[in-house]
């Protein structure tokens, strides 16, 4: 077997997973928007506008989550079995709140919908709060580790009965959870500013931006600060895995391109936010902050998996930690999936085209009234 190639494909697939992760976090703006439903929408007409503009996009978030899972399964199946089987409760809660979301757009405004419109709005709010927080906490364990051990058949044994909820006992995880949560809300506000043409919603969104963008930046920097100054799990020369002081900081220094990506991403996010706050007529903040988010998340996940770092560390048995080398699919499968991945540009192209034609003009109350069907 050509080891060089296996190694290359493992890195290639980790990058794809990172990209999907980055896009997923960006698309969580749908959830962020749902959590702001009553903050920005003070009466039903406003809430209808919000739900209908988000409603054209929610399936992208949902689909990206599914594909993120599928891509992880195909390329790093050991992560799939270890994390989903191990941190069972966290993932189940995430899935549960996404089920709530999937039906709510379609059912909320329909006659005879059994639970009543208000319930579906509450479902959207639950998904809006829980999904970014839980996903953020789950991704934080890529850095902070989880209590598991792998058996001879690579079967997972979770060392606490709380099956993933133990992540809530680690303060650092909260930093990323809150950062993702406020990022989702910040992006949602920028999305409203671009896509909804309504005075009240515009004014409220710009005001709310302060209260969400500042905590987002603060929590993100806190998280970054903690992981850069703490331990990271590294694959040593003898292939054993151990905590190493300042591992992630060294990764920053040793992978300058990635560090550049992180800085460009952060700059994009800050530019999008600050310019929106300072010029009341400028509406394109989502494009800068959105692409900045994608880049920053990619860089963060590359930091977790590249440079002989364990991307899913075990805090109780470091040698059980998952790396892109020991968790990956076989060379053959990764190669097949490499060819499959060549379709990605086509997928991006048609999504881009459809997104453009569907969001050409910002939505107004009048447009919403005239459109049929609507959510």
């Amino acid at each position: 077997m050509d080891v060089m190639d296996l190694n290359m494909l493992q890195h290639y697939w980790w990058i794809l997973v990172c990209i999907l992760g980055g896009v997923l976090v960006f698309l969580l703006f749908v959830q962020g928007g749902q959590s702001l439903l009553y903050t920005i929408g003070k009466e039903k007409g406003e809430r209808d506008l919000i739900i209908n503009t988000l409603g054209h996009k929610w399936e992208y978030t949902f689909t990206t989550l599914v594909v993120f899972g599928g891509a992880f399964f195909a390329s790093f199946p050991l992560f799939y079995s270890t994390s989903f089987g191990g941190a069972y409760l966290v993932w189940m809660l995430i899935l549960f709140c996404f089920v709530l979301q999937a039906v709510s757009y379609e059912y909320r405004n329909k006659k005879n919908n059994f639970l009543g419109s208000r319930t579906y709005e509450v479902f959207l709010m639950i998904n809006g709060y829980a999904a970014p927080l839980l996903l953020g906490a789950a991704v934080a364990t890529f850095f902070t580790g989880s209590p598991f051990r792998l058996g001879v058949m690579r079967d997972v044994e979770w060392m606490t009965p709380w099956r993933g909820l133990d992540a809530l006992g680690v303060v650092t995880n909260y930093f990323l959870a809150l950062a993702v949560f406020f990022a989702a809300r910040t992006l949602a506000l920028l999305y409203f500013i671009l896509t909804i043409d309504d005075v009240n919603i515009g004014v409220r969104s710009r005001r709310q931006l302060w209260f969400n963008a500042v905590p987002f930046v603060v929590f993100f920097l806190l998280f970054l600060g903690v992981i850069l100054t703490g331990d990271g799990y590294a694959v040593l020369a003898d292939e054993s895995i151990e905590p190493v002081r300042y591992k992630y900081f060294f990764n920053l220094l040793e992978m300058p391109v990635n560090t550049g990506l992180l800085l460009v991403g952060l700059f994009g996010v800050l530019y999008g936010i600050i310019r929106t706050l300072s010029s009341p007529l400028w509406r394109k903040g989502i494009w800068f902050a959105g692409s900045g988010t994608v880049l920053a998340v990619i860089a963060l996940l590359v930091l977790a998996g590249f440079n002989r770092t364990a991307f899913y560390p075990s805090s109780v048995d470091p040698d059980s930690s998952l790396t892109i080398y020991n968790a990956s699919s076989s060379f053959y499968t990764l190669k097949v999936m490499f060819y499959v991945s060549l379709v990605i540009p086509v997928v991006i192209a048609y999504i881009w085209y459809a997104w453009r034609v569907m969001t050409r003009k910002p939505m107004t109350r009048q447009m919403l009234e005239e459109s049929d069907p609507k959510y």
Binding site: L78, Y80, D155, Y332, S341
Partner: protein, 517 residues
């Protein structure tokens, strides 16, 4: 043992959870697969002829489609992640093969569906007619591609091909992608499933139209919808029967125990009859209470042999023959289950020895253990069984489900012929029985679909991966209380959402067709 056998209650709850999710999921999927085709056809007819009735029809069915679509997606998400969350040993053991189709499904199908669904549903005023039509077709193509890949994955579990076991990583690894994709099991399963879904969709359209006819509403709309759906349904049910036959022939070779359970066949032989109907009864004379005999059966002589091998005299093994060991019609010799269990235990022990020898650097022992493992790997899963009877699936459930599915298939064939004639001749004033029949066939189509899955999935027990991994070792080791908790969480939620879905559907139907007389 390398993988521990877990407690019965955990296995049972994990199975219930997966079965419950799958059953709910498959209440929504078939309509998506087939109705999307009818939508696209109606829109095409409008685009080509300019007849606005087709546009109204397309828009009406599209609204029902959307209500159904959302909940199909929701249940599908849970299914995908359950492989990891509840079946994590399985996910590692075969993830190298099984993960690929799921990822391809996401990449090729889900984005297509999601993107063009939004355009199809909201894009009437935003995009050109041409692009809108293209989008509707894309929704059909996307949903059917998605069915292809998930069924390729499912078929692989029933008939694992194109892979090799890697003892170092303790998993099966893919060696031939095309063998996985084009395995005869995958192909017959895909075509059988989608054509049966088209049949269900045709029943749905005819049934809803039947209700309008009874209410004397939208008669012209009903006529058009029924004509289109009955032609579509007629072709689909014939294709379903044909692919069902292919599927049965495949099962005869790859899963003889499933076939024996479908037929309630305890002692096989040459020239075996095909049971049409009958009762499965236990018999104290039989060695196990998992074994059954068929009583009061009506059978077609030698037909099972013919269906299996296109030879009236072919040998078909029964449950007892499979337990004892037999020689199949194509000359392959299968040892007794007892023997296969011994082989399996040897394979498991050899794997352990191999890993130990590799760790200790003992090449000679490693080579010997590997040789032993390779020889017996085909019986690997039998090593986890504790008694031979465990290879017998629940026979009555499979036997009756199979008969209900096939019987209903013939009823639908009749429906399509009668309904097509009825609409063509505009017999709406008389023959009230026909619209009633059409309405009754809607729930029956769902029953037939679920029965089909019961035959496929219960019939293959105890295997998650045929011969290689029994269900009880595939699961995640977790306190069963958590699985019980999440089972009820999802069961309650799905039930509430199903009630909501039906309520909205009925309200939408009652509202009638906008624009139609």
């Amino acid at each position: 043992m390398i993988l521990e056998l877990t407690t019965t209650s955990l296995v049972e709850w994990s199975r219930w959870q997966f079965a419950m999710t799958a059953i709910y999921h498959y209440m929504f999927v078939p309509l998506t697969l087939g109705l999307s085709f009818l939508l696209a056809m109606m829109e095409t007819l409008w685009y080509r002829t300019g007849k606005v009735e087709w546009l109204h029809a397309a828009k009406f069915w599209m609204k029902l489609f959307a209500v159904n679509f959302a909940i199909g997606i929701a249940t599908g998400l849970i299914l995908e992640f359950q492989f990891g969350s509840n079946w994590s040993n399985y996910s590692w053991f075969v993830g190298d093969i099984f993960g690929a189709p799921l990822a391809i499904e996401g990449l090729f199908a889900f984005f297509l569906e999601a993107t063009f669904f939004a355009v199809m549903f909201f894009g009437w005023e935003r995009v050109s007619r041409r692009f809108h039509l293209l989008s509707t077709w894309m929704v059909f193509i996307g949903s059917n591609i998605s069915a292809l890949w998930i069924l390729v994955a499912n078929a692989w579990m029933q008939n694992p091909v194109g892979m090799e076991f890697n003892p170092l990583t303790a998993r099966n690894e893919m060696v031939d992608f095309w063998a996985v994709l084009f395995s005869p099991t995958a192909m017959s399963k895909f075509f059988h499933t989608v054509t049966s879904a088209y049949t269900l969709s045709a029943c749905f359209v005819i049934g809803v139209s039947g209700w309008f006819i009874l209410k004397r509403r939208h008669l012209e709309f009903c006529r058009k919808s029924i004509l289109l759906a009955s032609v579509f349904g007629f072709c689909s049910i014939l294709a379903t029967m044909f692919t069902g036959d292919l599927s049965a022939r495949d099962i005869t070779r790859t899963q003889p125990m499933k076939l024996a359970a479908m037929e309630g066949l305890n002692e096989g032989g040459k020239g075996v009859d095909l049971t049409l109907i009958g009762l499965t009864v236990t018999d104290p004379a039989l060695p196990s209470d998992r074994m059954y005999r068929v009583k009061y059966g009506i059978a077609l002589p030698n037909m099972l042999s013919f269906l299996g091998y296109h030879d009236f005299d072919a040998y078909i093994p029964g449950v007892q023959d499979i337990l004892n060991g037999y020689v199949s019609s194509d000359g392959t010799e299968y040892p007794s289950v007892e023997q296969r269990m011994a082989n399996g235990r040897m394979a498991i022990a050899a794997l352990k020895d191999y890993r130990k020898a590799v760790d200790e650097g003992d090449d000679a022992v490693a080579a010997q253990a590997l040789q032993l493992l390779r020889t017996h790997f085909q019986d690997f899963g039998y090593g986890y069984l504790s008694s031979p009877e465990e290879v017998i699936p629940p026979i009555p459930l499979v036997f009756y489900s199979f008969r209900i599915m096939v019987g209903l298939g013939f009823l639908f064939l009749l429906l399509f012929v009668v309904a097509g004639w009825y609409a063509k001749k505009r017999k709406f004033a008389c023959f009230r029985l026909i619209p009633y029949l059409a309405i009754v066939c809607v729930p029956l189509a769902y029953v037939a679909s679920q029965c089909g899955w019961i035959v496929a999935e219960v019939g293959r027990q105890p295997w998650v991966v045929q011969h290689l991994m029994p269900t009880q070792v595939a699961i995640t080791r977790i306190a069963s209380g958590w699985v019980v908790t999440t089972f009820w969480m999802f069961a309650v939620l799905f039930t509430l959402l199903l009630i909501a879905e039906l309520g909205i559907m009925f309200a939408q139907i009652r509202k009638g067709v906008k624009g139609a007389e």
